[in-house]
């Protein structure tokens, strides 16, 4: 099947592995990611904190593009997913806001949240199916103990994201099991890494990140996987002494589509 794909800025710079392996893994699982044309930055997480319209327009453009191709829109970065999903929710539920946006866009057809937005993890769980992922694994991860790190943006607010129980999620753990590794449940897997506060108060971000790494290790984790470039940045920068990798990278390894030199 073919789906629309929104990579996001970071995936073309710092988080190239997240992007590249999204393509390779999807192809292996029979899904073609079609990158939407002339996509722009999702607007960044800051835009969700304000009622501003301008900063949400680029998300709406991405959503409209998917709608016009009658495809679901797949995101992979937690930040982009949160912004686009929340924008779509506002377009569905806040008529006044949607009218204003449609006037700005000044295009023939109005957009009212018709497109469906899935995170890549939801694509794996709900469209492909974790059982199919398991069948496609050629290089099982040999019971390696892996901790899923969710952060805050992927699951919250639950009323909008509707992906998994934000207090006690299991979507990444189920993926880890499907890849033949052993998921490590640890309390801080859905705590915030510090996020953008790393710019203003690096000490605070350091403390947050350390709490997460220490807790994961104490529960026996040998590796942490995440879907969020900012989370990875904070965890690595603040001294993670076990590997922190994107989930698509690990999936590529399990599916046997990883290129040897990467991940260094």
């Amino acid at each position: 099947m073919k789906v629309s794909y929104f990579p996001g800025c970071t995936l073309k710079n710092k988080a190239k592995e997240l992007d590249k392996y999204s393509y390779l893994c999807a192809e292996k699982l029979g899904v073609t990611l079609e990158e939407i044309e002339e996509w722009q930055c999702c607007g960044g997480v800051f835009s969700t904190a304000k009622d501003e319209i301008a900063s949400k327009l680029s998300s709406v453009r991405a959503l409209k593009a998917a709608k016009s191709k009658e495809q679901p829109l797949i995101t992979v970065c937690s930040g982009c997913h949160n912004v686009i999903k929340q924008t779509n929710y506002v377009m569905q539920n806040d008529k006044e806001f949607a009218d204003k946006v449609n006037k700005y866009m000044a295009e023939e057809e109005a957009y009212n949240g018709e497109a469906e937005v899935y995170n890549y993890l939801e694509l794996l769980r709900d469209v492909v199916g974790f059982d199919k992922v398991k069948e496609a694994v050629t290089n099982p991860l040999g019971g390696k103990k892996i901790a899923a790190y969710y952060g805050c943006l992927l699951l919250r607010p639950n009323s909008v994201m509707k992906m998994d129980d934000p207090e006690n999620p299991k979507i990444m753990e189920d993926l880890i099991s499907a890849m033949g590794a052993e998921p490590v449940i640890y309390a801080n897997r859905n705590e915030c890494c510090g996020g953008y506060i790393a710019l203003e108060d690096p000490k605070a971000a350091e403390k947050r990140s350390n709490d997460i790494i220490r807790n994961a290790k104490a529960m026996g984790a040998e590796m942490i996987i995440t879907a969020c470039p900012l989370c990875k940045y904070n965890l690595v920068k603040n001294g993670a002494d076990i590997p922190v990798v994107y989930f698509t990278e690990l999936l590529a390894e399990a599916l046997g589509v990883k290129e040897e030199k990467d991940g260094e």
Partner: protein, 664 residues
């Protein structure tokens, strides 16, 4: 032609508030067959019923329509009224203009219009009603109690005391249920075992009580007064009549690593076991999942040490068939699984436990012999956090918890907190709560004592997260009164898990055709006026299978259920329901469709002679209905392709007349 009287009830303002009752009475006056029509404030009252009786005599009525509440509420009342006035009780029809009309409409014109239409339909039906006479059936004077916890034991004892034989079916190897696992009971703090075990012994010694332990109900047939029940007595591989309960086999059993369910897996038992010292019956049971002899034929140690020769590896499940007049459901509860509440780190740390596990840890017969020690390292905990409402009152998370209040947690948590402070004054105890709910005799005084005399720290707010950190548990919660976030480095966290009905309740309800609510609690016949009866005749409810309850409430309900059973069993004959199916054998083509859909096995086929053309005789296979078994569900009348099946009191012609009246 019938002479019909119409009686429209106001039900105070319940109906009259949104239905113009005078207009309804007036409109129905001109319906075919109606010779009298009136309204009254409370038709079910003595004065209302007298009004009906007088009208029957004065106007020579042959049929009655009462426009009032649901027939479930007062159909029986008005049938009695009709009978008192000399009419056949089945000449009464109820038009439900309350639950299905006035309560769901807000505007008077709409409500009135609908009430008139419903009244017309009832009149159309009564025009085709015929007098019906119920058959009689004898009552089997024996009761079945399903579940041997405190609810089942109390019900059985009360029925037995009235002189009727009772059987208790318990799925576990011993009766006693959850109460046997508890340490002390609120609000008096007497020990649970001291008040429960004498009752268990009473049950075992009562000559009117038989206990089928390690047994389950397999199938239920029949109806009130005449249930036929199949009970599966699971093979325990020990002859109950020979075993003396000496325990020699248990001591010698080499399979020592079986998680002990009585202590919630906090220690191990052997493959052959007696759940606890005061078990009733006190006989050993072999756990086939772990016994080496049963699994691969290698062992047999217990046979060697059994002086009574009670071990029988070849024992098979046994089916017992018995007849009962009444069935009491007492299947009880289970705490919910903590799997979906891992924000409290239950799977991550052994020192996060449920309240039932805490009971075992403080029980003298528990895995620590009553010493409060951490499961992880056996050390004494100095800071304990109790979290209430874990999975209860969870309106926003119904997919993982329960929307209802589990009712018992506030009190047992206060008990745990108080007992901890009493035994170990060096321990800090904090309780997180949403609300403290302590309605009950001496309950609020009890909880206040925990705070005021024992210094338990109650915090209004919920815990957001528990993080294991070294040998501590970092508990983060909010104090809503002080409006601040709190962090406690606790040694032990105790979760007051919500309670839910036992898993066996749902399949049992299907067998009994007894209804359940969305939470799988059994539904009572009326929430206020018939709280211990199921809507299915002859099925009664005892204890937490009907809703969360503490021990005093359970025991009162158990007694109430018993008194209803005794009332039923002391009758020699029961009047049946005459609204049963009957087959017009001239039209029946013998296709068996009805037989296949009948859930009660009430339909059978017979070869019967019918006159054919030219004085010949033709033998045809036709359906007959056993009216004593038929429950009048009507499934056969729908399935019958030739229209031969009809339901007395709900004839196809009557239903069509109602539809016509509504669509007119």
């Amino acid at each position: 032609m019938q002479r019909i009287g119409v009686f429209v009830c106001w039900c105070g303002s319940n109906i009259a508030g949104t239905v113009d009752v005078k207009a309804v009475a007036e409109a129905l006056k001109s319906e075919p067959g109606v010779v009298f029509s009136t309204e009254y404030q409370y038709m079910c009252s003595q004065a209302g019923q007298d009004l009906i009786k007088d009208a029957v005599k004065e106007h020579n009525l042959t049929g009655i329509v009462v426009c009032s509440c649901s027939p479930r509420m007062h159909e029986a009342t008005f049938r009695k009224t009709a009978a008192a006035a000399g009419l056949n009780p089945y000449m009464v029809e109820i038009a439900n203009i309350r639950e299905q009309c006035s309560w769901v409409h807000k505007e008077m014109p709409l409500g009135t219009e609908k009430a008139i239409i419903l009244g017309k339909a009832a009149v159309a039906k009564v025009n085709l009603n015929a007098p019906l006479t119920p058959g009689q059936s004898p009552v089997t004077k024996r009761a079945l109690v399903i579940g041997g916890g405190i609810a089942g034991i109390q019900t059985a004892l009360d029925i037995a005391d009235a002189g009727f034989p009772v059987d208790i079916v318990e799925k576990k190897p011993t009766i006693g249920g959850k109460m046997a696992q508890l340490d002390k009971t609120f609000p008096t703090l007497d020990c649970a075992a001291c008040i429960l075990t004498p009752k268990m012994v009473d049950a075992a010694q009562n000559e009117n009580i038989r206990i089928f332990s390690y047994s389950e109900v397999e199938a239920v047939k029949g109806f009130v007064g005449n249930f036929e029940v199949k009970i599966k007595k699971k093979a325990r591989y020990v002859d109950e009549t020979k075993c003396t309960g000496c325990g020699a086999c248990i001591e010698k059993c080499p399979q020592k690593k079986v998680p002990n369910e009585f202590n919630l897996g906090m220690d191990n038992r052997r493959a052959i076991y007696i759940p606890f010292a005061q078990a009733v019956p006190k006989v050993a049971t072999i756990d086939a999942d772990y016994c080496n002899m049963l699994k691969n034929g290698k062992c047999g140690v217990c046979t060697k040490f059994c002086a009574a020769g009670a071990i029988d590896y070849k024992q098979k499940d046994e089916i017992i068939e018995e007849k009962y007049g009444a069935i009491v459901v007492a299947t009880g509860f289970e705490p919910i699984s903590m799997e979906k509440f891992d924000e409290f780190a239950y799977s991550q740390s052994k020192d996060v436990i449920t309240s039932l596990e805490f009971e075992r840890l403080t029980n003298a017969a528990g895995p620590t012999a009553g010493k409060l020690l951490r499961p992880s390292d056996g050390k004494h905990p100095h800071k304990i956090v109790f979290v209430q409402c874990v999975g209860s009152r969870c309106a926003s998370c119904a997919e993982k918890g329960k929307e209802y209040c589990s009712k018992i947690c506030c009190m047992y948590t206060a008990k745990h907190a108080m007992l901890t402070r009493d035994k170990y004054p060096d321990t800090d105890v904090t309780v997180f709560y949403i609300d403290v709910r302590t309605p009950g005799k001496n309950f609020d005084e009890f909880q206040r004592r925990a705070v005021e005399e024992y210094g338990v720290n109650y915090v209004k707010g919920m815990v957001g997260k528990v993080t294991p950190e070294g040998d501590k548990l970092i508990v983060r919660g909010s104090d809503l009164i002080a409006n601040k976030q709190i962090k406690i480095d606790a040694d032990l966290v105790v979760l007051a898990a919500a309670i839910e009905p036992d898993k066996t309740a749902r399949p049992l309800a299907t067998m009994l055709t007894a209804s359940m609510d969305t939470n799988d609690f059994f539904t009572e016949a009326h929430p206020k006026l018939r709280p211990v009866e199921s809507p299915t005749a002859g099925v009664f409810l005892s204890g937490t299978c009907q809703g969360p309850k503490d021990i005093p409430e359970t025991v009162s309900q158990a007694g109430a259920a018993a008194s209803k059973v005794i009332g039923l069993l002391q009758k020699d004959m029961l009047l049946g329901n005459p609204c049963v199916a009957s087959s017009n054998q001239l039209m029946c083509n013998g296709c068996s469709s009805c037989e296949r859909v009948c859930p009660y096995g009430a339909i059978s086929y017979e070869d019967k002679e019918f006159p054919g053309p030219n004085r010949t005789v033709k033998v045809r296979r036709v359906a007959t209905v056993n009216p004593a078994v038929c429950q009048g569900c009507g499934a056969c009348t729908v399935a019958c392709p030739s229209g031969a099946m009809d339901l007395n009191g709900f004839m196809n012609s009557q239903i069509m007349a109602e539809v016509d009246a509504i669509c007119k």
